[in-house]
Subunit: 203 residues, 3 copies
Amino acid sequence: MTFPKIIYLFDLVGTAAFAASGAIAGVRKKMDIYGIIFLGVVTAVGGGTLRDIIVGRIPPFIFKDYNYLIISIAVSVLTFYFHHIIERRFKFLLIMDALGLGIFTVIGTSIGLEYNIGIVGSVFLGVMTGTFGGMIRDVLQHEIPLVLQKEIYASACLVGGFFFVIAMRMGVSEGISVFVSVMIVFSIRLLAILKNWNLPRPK
Amino acid sequence: MTFPKIIYLFDLVGTAAFAASGAIAGVRKKMDIYGIIFLGVVTAVGGGTLRDIIVGRIPPFIFKDYNYLIISIAVSVLTFYFHHIIERRFKFLLIMDALGLGIFTVIGTSIGLEYNIGIVGSVFLGVMTGTFGGMIRDVLQHEIPLVLQKEIYASACLVGGFFFVIAMRMGVSEGISVFVSVMIVFSIRLLAILKNWNLPRPK
Amino acid sequence: MTFPKIIYLFDLVGTAAFAASGAIAGVRKKMDIYGIIFLGVVTAVGGGTLRDIIVGRIPPFIFKDYNYLIISIAVSVLTFYFHHIIERRFKFLLIMDALGLGIFTVIGTSIGLEYNIGIVGSVFLGVMTGTFGGMIRDVLQHEIPLVLQKEIYASACLVGGFFFVIAMRMGVSEGISVFVSVMIVFSIRLLAILKNWNLPRPK
């Protein structure tokens, strides 16, 4: 399997994990099956869709490759029927979610570089790709977005995104830059969960 | 009256009905007149505006034909002053809303076909046109969007949207495709209200 | 200092004031430092970013001139550490916020004219630039947007925006049009606070 194919595969795995987190939120809020599918889809593809709109990548990726929509819908339907089973695999889901966060961040950041919006803009685009889907999920399920309140989530994307742009600017090969950046986001996120890390809050 | 003119007329009627539903939500939440007009406008034109942004139809339709904005604002102002009367016409409003839902869905789906975003993407665009305005209304009035929770609403758009793309692909004339698709959305929505149909919810 | 430079300076001052209002909201909701910075940034640049997306001014201004992002982030970080001091300067903040509201409105309206979306559309764009950042802030902090509920806020933008387009159409010089329009928004907003003015609410 070539490197781009591996990235693509991991991207779909991340999409599935994000869709499951959205669909589970819908189940908990006792939404109907449409609401659950919608929340799954928006969590999985919302960040990337907003990213594409903001840089003028029109139509957004969801309309160019239907695999993202198909996987999001399929996972959401499965979650609707088997949410008890899926929720028991909570740890597995967290690991897949962290992997997705890493992949989404690096893809978003690399699209930013491609569209020449500068280092800060590119990292911002990476953070957006990784976190905006979950923010829309939380707004729609009537919660203050988790990412704004606690845990290490967006900040893991920030570190990984900055590492990626710096590595690319320094001429590191794309394969290595992608791999290490994804691992950085993934490891920070999982370590933060394990060690119960949080960002500082106001006094 | 030619067929496109009838569609346009029904589109404006749907816009008025959606604006009324938004403005009534604002009245119930005791917003001020600006809030009520804003909620009316965003409910009426929010879905179509997001649809236009997502396919790159810039500037969005609201800036090309002011009738949509004018009607939304006028209906919202009327609702502000005469909400007691309008709320007593609740059944009439529901019928007009169902008609608007049908028209919005078919217009959105047909724009999707025009912009070549495929069958699934086009139907998605139709659902978006029909339902996103109401979702923004509900988020702004601090409720979980109704469309995610109960009743048959987005699913009526899905059926009508799919019928429309299939009819068009099979070479059925545009007039008949539009008419039947609108009637499908309209009938499913009204039947669902009458019969108190709901989509399944998680167990 | 030339006139465009003064405008630019006031635009940055308004950005700082808006960022402070967003960051303070985050502090009150006990968000973490990322949430506080995010709320500050989105309040300060959210309206202008949506404006740019809606007229196809891609990439949005935040990616073309980093000063807006830098100032928003810096002010948010300062608010995180020194929110007690900043909140005590509440009156000063209100005045800066009113100044920002005026500048944002006029810039948004003038971009509308530049992109030929008509008088009503341009004023709408001005109101959007002035108010949508605060609306996103309120949705994210789980409140019904203040601008929809009470006080004179968006309506000050409406008056100032309409004055600006009419002055420009009548051939008044840009400098005078900008200055007077900003002063109109600024004065209405501050007078409304002083005199406790509100828009009518439904009976």
